[in-house]
Amino acid sequence: MTKLNINGTDIDVAADGDMPLLWAVRDIAGMTGTKYGCGVGLCGACTVHVDGVAKRSCQMTVKEAMGTSVTTIEGLDQNGEHRVQQAWRDLNVPQCGFCQSGQIMQAASLLAENPKPTDDEILEAMSGNVCRCGCYQRIVAAVRLASTGS
């Protein structure tokens, strides 16, 4: 039995070690906040934190994730009140919402690493997260809001 630590809990995942973490999180652990968007690491919808750093869960296998601490959108903050989540609400960022958990996980990782990013650093850090509805203007503003409070 393979054990993964997801959101602070050890979960048995009876999964092929080569299975992408994305599918283990969604299909086996049953946490559906992490989304499938492309499967090739180019859209960011599946972004989770592995040991606190944003990773594309479609590009990491279960084997590679063993022994790490995986955080999904469901575990970003116990009460769903991470400052990035709050900023997303304050600025009414989402349209369809599908990419937003990945966007939020990416932004939270950026701010953990670099609490006061420049505008260019924000744009660069978020460039791997596609939003087909086109919410970028508000996404960037929300990252800035979460960073600076304004």
Binding site: W23, G37, C38, F98, S101
Partner: protein, 767 residues
């Protein structure tokens, strides 16, 4: 969480919170003084108007008993019957009901309707119609319930109903007051009042309508990962399937290795689905399905199939030659759709004829959520969970496919992770239905991104040739426009190669310029793939062509773009389609023309708002330019002013102003977000989105060769200007009309910045 009514057919998905709504209510305890907002009958506060909504399949329903129930604790349950794909209709229509009802939004619970148009009215969430068609019904529903609550309270207290005040979830008379929950049982048993007997709120008493302060109902769930999309519903014993579909539309498998797929751990079945070739509506393409315990196994199993395909009749489809053929077709006379004045004479006597041709590749919608659907066929019934724009059509298609009466099929609508027209066509739902029937288990069909790009219902490819005849003074006296593109109709009927009236009504025959001699014609182009509608549909290539042409003509005539546009539009007028030679079957987005006429003063107004907003005419640094475009679509008027800055050949848009006249703006905040989104999608259309075919198969596969605008290069500083109106200025469309004018505005700005004229989209990010 998504909530549905009466969800009793099958085991309930673990991720769905389900509640049965009771209309029974009991007297509550708390009561508070409510301030009077209005009391006397005021049906004149809401004069109604006719829309095309009544002519849609299953029309409009304004029965509060269908849409509203009130719990004993006062919770107001409101049904959202349109699909939510990001436009905000799941919030805005219930918000309108709540406001007119005087319900406190904090005590409203939204229930997503299942696909049932005879019950709810038309649910086909498409054509920018949700507010345009349903806003009046929503207001009537709210007003009816508020009136019934007042009547129930009046009867309870023995006082005249017009002395009862309903305000913010409380009903009061003097010192007496009751909550909605207290009155619900009696109120909801009363007859529904006629429109004339409802005391509608005056507009200045609106709490939510027109304010833009109500946040979308799923905002918290979206930001915590709790929101439920198509692939997020799970049933006990559920299997996951992927399908290997023919790379060429109409193709078939010659051979495949089912044993190899079955050897993959977790794969439980391989099943061949029946094939289809257009015209087949939304029927699945067919192919080989691999059914497995989880998505990974289903994908691995499919990879192991090693299918050999036969191409079929469309295996000769090659974009390069097809585009050249379409361009050649524009140079021959086509079927004449609109003839006004004497265009031949105008061109014969012209001092100058100015001709340009513009082209566009196919596009795929690629919503962030690839198609996915769950079906549970249980022998004599079936239940489906799916992200669908048209749940009733999906239900009918799926029922037919498995041989069930639609009465025994239920379609629950999840949130849509984007739609853009792709999720109107529920081939993926029918696949899930067929597979659930075949393997006798609940089956979720999951499309990969490659599936989505390879097997879409594509936005058409097009060639548009426009000619202007100018007199000695440079006045345009004649206009000809031959538009050639494979038709959406080919998906539904044998292909004659010509456009049909819905397509020709989208920016072609309805050219709103004041030109005395006009001919619009349409040359033939046969479809060799599944053609479908994509956000804004035929307006995208037409606005691209017309808007770019106006920019080119302006330069040729030594005028600025604004002057050129204003010269062509002429003095403000309401277009008389008969006098201007429009076809008899002219389609005004399905609306009664008298209520939604083409008013060119609105074009002028939005053009000036956008141009003034960006400071059109100001001097700019080198490598910068401003482009203008304006277009009417979905009975709305949108202008775009784009400032382009070219950095080492890379086209960037540091500023854009968009102005929209969409009639009354019920939810300005979502209108702004839709237009900001249209700016980004327009940038993608302009720079990135090109689907091309080789030997009948799509050449692109995923974001590495079908990319979209990203945070590193999207239109920054998009300012949205909304023309303000009162409620009676008929709301029009919002979801789609922002898109068409974006790409021509960018192209015109590129020309201003560097003198390069681009006539094909996608034009690339670097020029």
């Amino acid at each position: 969480m998504l909530k549905y009514l009466d969800q009793i057919h099958t085991p309930i998905a673990k991720t769905l919170s389900v509640q049965k709504v009771s209309r029974r209510a009991f007297l509550g305890t708390s009561a508070a003084f409510a301030v009077a907002v209005f009391a006397a009958p005021r049906a004149d506060a809401f004069p109604t108007w006719e829309t095309g909504g009544t002519a849609m399949p299953n029309g409009l329903v304004d029965d509060p008993m269908v849409f509203v129930s009130i719990d004993e604790d006062g919770t107001v349950n409101l049904v959202a019957h349109r699909s939510e794909m990001g436009t905000g209709s799941r919030t805005t229509l219930p918000m309108i009901m709540a406001d007119e009802m005087e319900a406190d939004w904090a005590r409203v619970n939204i229930i997503q309707a299942e696909g049932d148009e005879p019950k709810y009215g038309n649910q086909n969430t498409d054509g920018s119609r949700s507010l345009r068609h349903h806003i009046q019904a929503a207001r009537k529903i709210g007003g009816s319930v508020r009136t019934m609550l007042a009547q129930a309270a009046a009867a309870e207290w023995g006082v005249p109903v017009d002395q009862v005040v309903v305000s913010n979830h409380m009903v009061s008379h003097g010192s007496k007051s009751l909550g909605f929950g207290d009155l619900a049982a009696k109120a909801m048993a009363l007859p529904v009042p006629a429109h004339e007997d409802i005391a509608y709120k005056p507009e200045d008493a609106f709490r939510y309508i027109g304010k833009g302060e109500v946040q979308i109902t799923d905002l918290r769930d979206i930001t915590t990962g709790e929101a439920v999309y198509g692939a997020d519903v799970t049933l006990p014993g559920m299997k996951v399937a992927t399908v290997a579909r023919p790379p060429v539309v109409g193709g078939k498998a010659i051979s495949f290795d089912a044993d190899a797929a079955m050897a993959v751990p977790g794969v439980v079945a391989v099943h061949e689905l029946p094939y289809s070739i257009p015209p087949a509506g939304f029927a699945p393409l067919g192919g080989i399905a691999v059914v497995a315990d989880n998505t990974y196994a289903a994908i691995q199993g499919r990879d192991a199939l090693k299918v050999t395909w036969e191409g079929g009749p469309h295996a000769g489809y090659n974009t390069e030659t097809f585009m050249a053929d379409m361009v050649a077709e524009t140079e021959k006379p086509g079927v004449v759709l609109r003839e006004q004045g004497d265009p031949d004479a105008a061109f014969a006597k012209a001092a100058k004829v100015f001709t340009r041709t513009y082209t566009q590749d196919h596009m795929a919608h690629i919503p962030m959520e690839p198609p996915a659907a769950l079906a549970n066929f249980t022998g004599n019934a079936m239940e489906i969970w799916a992200p669908v724009q048209s749940p009733y059509q999906a239900r009918q298609d799926a029922a037919k496919a498995v041989g069930l009466d639609e009465a025994n099929v239920r379609v629950n609508v999840t949130l849509l992770g984007g739609g853009f027209g792709r999720k109107s066509k529920a081939d993926y739902v029918t696949e899930a239905a067929l597979l659930s029937q075949a393997v006798k288990a609940p089956v979720r069909v999951q499309w990969t991104r490659e599936d989505d790009i390879h097997h879409s219902f594509y936005h058409t490819a097009s060639a548009e040739r426009i000619e202007a005849a100018l007199d000695d003074a440079g006045k345009v006296i004649g206009w000809r426009h031959n538009s050639v593109a494979p038709s959406i109709l080919s998906t539904f009927a044998p292909d004659g190669g010509n456009q049909f009236f819905i397509e020709t009504g989208m920016g072609h025959v309805d050219l709103p310029f004041d030109i005395p001699n006009v001919r619009m014609d349409n040359g033939k182009a046969l479809a060799h793939t599944r053609i479908g509608w994509f956000r804004a549909v035929s307006n995208v290539p037409r606005a691209w062509a017309i808007g770019s042409f106006v920019g080119e003509l302006a330069h040729d005539q030594g005028k600025d773009q604004r002057t050129m546009w204003l010269d062509l539009i002429g003095t403000p007028r309401t277009v008389d389609p008969v006098a201007e030679g429009y076809p008899e079957n002219f389609w005004d987005y399905g609306e009664p023309y008298a209520e939604f006429p083409i008013r060119t003063g609105k074009l002028i107004n939005v053009l000036n708002m956008a141009a003034d907003g960006i400071g059109y005419g100001k001097s700019l640094p080198d490598w910068e330019g401003i482009g203008l475009a304006v277009h009417r679509s979905f009975v709305s008027y949108v202008a775009v002013a784009a400032r382009v800055k070219i950095i080492n050949g890379k086209v960037t848009v540091p500023e854009m102003h968009m102005a929209i006249d969409c009639g009354y703006a019920a939810n300005p905040e979502r209108i702004e977000s839709q237009l900001q989104g249209a700016a980004v999608m327009g940038m993608t259309v302009a720079q990135h989105s090109g689907i091309t075919f080789k030997d009948g198969a799509v050449e692109q596969s995923n974001f590495y060769d079908y990319d979209v605008a990203r945070s590193t290069n999207y239109p920054n500083n998009v300012h949205v200007h909304i023309v303000p109106y009162g409620f009676d200025e008929h709301p029009t469309g919002v979801g789609e009309p922002g898109l068409p004018p974006v790409s021509p505005a960018i192209a015109n700005a590129i020309f201003e910045a560097q003198g390069k004229r681009l006539r094909h989209i996608p034009m690339g990010e670097t020029i």
